[in-house]
Symmetry: C2
Subunit: 398 residues, 2 copies
């Protein structure tokens, strides 16, 4: 076979390289590849790959070693997954269209404001995977600190909400909760959701996996039940039981948020505006109408002082209002870890001990969870003001 | 052989992967590697590798494919080069020390000023290769626009100058020139250096290769002579002939600048302060005493208006003064390309045509080069004010 003759213009056989580059899609092409040469692709070029109905943009690494032929395009695990590639597939490769929304990022860097139009363009391109990690880092940095005012934060939140799937639950209230974080072992969600559902309210809860701590709620829940439910399964479970606890990463609710978070974490850049947009875009996309925010305050928690908590609470409420969300914030004690165990199995054991009313069950975990559940019940009008905790306790200890 | 028993703690055999990741060092380790497992390394972890007297920090990609064994550590081309690895080498792998200077970057993001101490710490770590591309992007973005004031720009320039090698030329003037850029084919350096050297002045000129255009001065010069000279060779050539035209990338003069530029370019973020620090740190590290800046001004050049040129010129002069450099700026016409050819060979032909006084030699290239050479001669006091051009012409057309 004449390899040159067999080569279609700009088409290459896909090869799964088995290289985990975390979430940035990477493309491997041989230095002698005819597509590299004809298109002028070099290491770090951004290349668009099209396969069936999907298109992704990947960063090019040029291979001179022997483990790739000039007629193959190797894909990192992330690229393979995003493109939905299968063995034997051939993709079309080309230069991506110029990333015009980076002009809005540069404008923000230079001190101009992020308009609604700009936020839509930037977030749309981010959700579509068109931003490289470098470009994501520039956007995150440009918005960091307190560089997003209220109007910009609302625009960003709205764009992030609209950039993925949105769940609709019909008329009536849909409850949600979120913990701002910073307290290991704070697994209240697994106690709150059953109480709220038992009171006849709906609570479709998506949670994250561990990133910097040994377990996220999704990891802990997974020791007891599957958590990678799709949107149809979430709907089925919630319609049957009133609640669910699933892994948010399995559904495309505010997908730009997941992409931004993976860049924000290694940079350790906390942006007030992006924090608010991150929390509320996920809730809005999940179809929540009422969101209770658990905000632990303490010297080692994410929020360090009552004053900082008040500022953040006001932002969350104002942005929520703009998006049609009722937001209530509860400041909680952020001094110490909660529960006895750290890690998925031990945290699940703590949760089960509370639910089963075992002797030695961690009282502080129960107290926090029931306090928050009670606040949600009062928020929804399902318990009179001042009686939420009592109602929650009664439901959980029948 | 028992592979587990053979494995030394945290030591792995290096393997050159033949993967070009441009300049970011990447490390490939098998998912089953005992070092990955015992140290908790995951995809995107930053890992320190030590070999003989060198230490680098690389970004980890985890391999599950068959082309790497659990006892091997694969290196990208950049990592292989930076570590000075040879076939058969075994490196020690460990967690890098926490990158404390990122605290200064975050402080700058949050609006605080870049102090001299902060600049030294950040630039030192950048030059040592301790910053990931994400972290570099955050630093570049934090300084972009006009976010560096004069004092911060001076601190950054001084740190960049001190972070690599510095050439010393003894008493007397050492001339240098720089073009701010934006004009294709503007190959004046190859005409200016011989004229200045012929007038008895020293001019050790380092130039860049092409990055966004088809040729840099180093590429064009390389069609006629080797350009990858080390510091000792540069000294020998300049002591013998008065001048040289070499590739700046072969010497460690302001190495942080090269690293920052590779991130600035794809982001297309122009920072006035970083531009000034970039230009002047290279010149100061090369031992220049007098720097003439060719600043083309025009609607498609890097500097768009006479007003912008005046602001930039004042910054260059003030920062130069703080570093002990005499800086003079000449505004030139930035309307159109210079010379006839674009690309190394054709541009070299234009230069030779001028030097040989061939009929049809590009007059505009000669006019610009001799104008700048004349300005340098007047700057050095080697020609009376108003006679520089005439002197340069006389020298080049004997």
């Amino acid at each position: 076979m004449n390899l040159r003759a067999a080569a279609q213009p700009n088409r290459l056989a896909l090869r799964r390289m088995g290289i985990d580059t975390y979430q940035e899609p990477v493309l491997y092409m041989h230095g002698d590849c005819h597509v590299c040469r004809s298109e002028g692709f070099e290491a770090q070029s951004r290349v668009e790959l099209a396969l069936r109905d999907r298109t992704i943009v990947a960063t090019l690494n040029v291979v001179t070693g022997e483990f790739l032929t000039p007629l193959q395009a190797g894909l990192s695990e992330a690229a393979w997954r995003l493109l939905g590639a299968r063995e034997g597939d051939e993709a079309t490769l080309r230069h991506p269209a110029p990333l015009e929304s980076m002009g809005h990022v540069r404008a923000k860097v230079y001190g101009r404001r992020l308009t609604a139009t700009a936020a839509d363009a930037v977030v749309g391109d981010i959700a579509a995977g068109r931003y490289s990690d470098l470009q994501l880092a520039a956007f995150v940095t440009a918005c960091a600190g307190d560089r997003l005012d209220m109007e910009e934060t609302i625009a960003l939140t709205r764009s992030m909400t609209n950039a993925g799937e949105r769940m609709q639950w019909g008329a009536g209230m849909v409850m949600d909760k979120h913990c701002v974080g910073g307290l290991p072992g704070n697994r209240t969600t697994m106690l709150i959701v059953p109480v709220i559902a038992a009171c006849g309210l709906r609570m479709p809860k998506t949670s994250s996996r561990a990133i910097t701590s040994p377990a996220g709620t999704a990891d802990t829940m997974e020791t007891l039940a599957p958590v990678d439910l799709d949107v149809a399964s979430i709907r089925r479970v919630v319609e049957r039981t009133g609640g669910c606890i699933v892994w948010g990463g399995a559904v495309r609710l505010s997908p730009a948020d997941d992409i931004l978070i993976r860049v924000e974490r290694p940079l350790d850049l906390d942006s007030q505006g992006q924090l608010v947009a991150s929390i509320l875009s996920k809730k809005a996309a999940a179809g929540a109408t009422h969101v209770l925010i658990d905000m632990p305050v303490g010297p080692t928690a994410k929020v360090r002082s009552a004053q900082a908590a008040a500022v953040l609470a006001r932002q969350l409420q104002e942005v929520g209002r703009a998006l049609g969300l009722n937001v209530r914030v509860v400041q909680t004690d952020g001094l110490a870890p909660v529960g006895r165990g750290i890690g998925p199995a031990l945290e699940a054991r703590d949760v089960l001990a509370v639910l089963r009313r075992q002797p030695g069950a961690p009282a502080e975990l129960e107290r926090r969870a029931m306090g928050l559940a009670g606040a949600i019940l009062e928020f929804a009008g399902a318990a009179a003001i001042g009686t939420g905790l009592e109602t929650a306790m009664a439901v959980s200890r029948p």
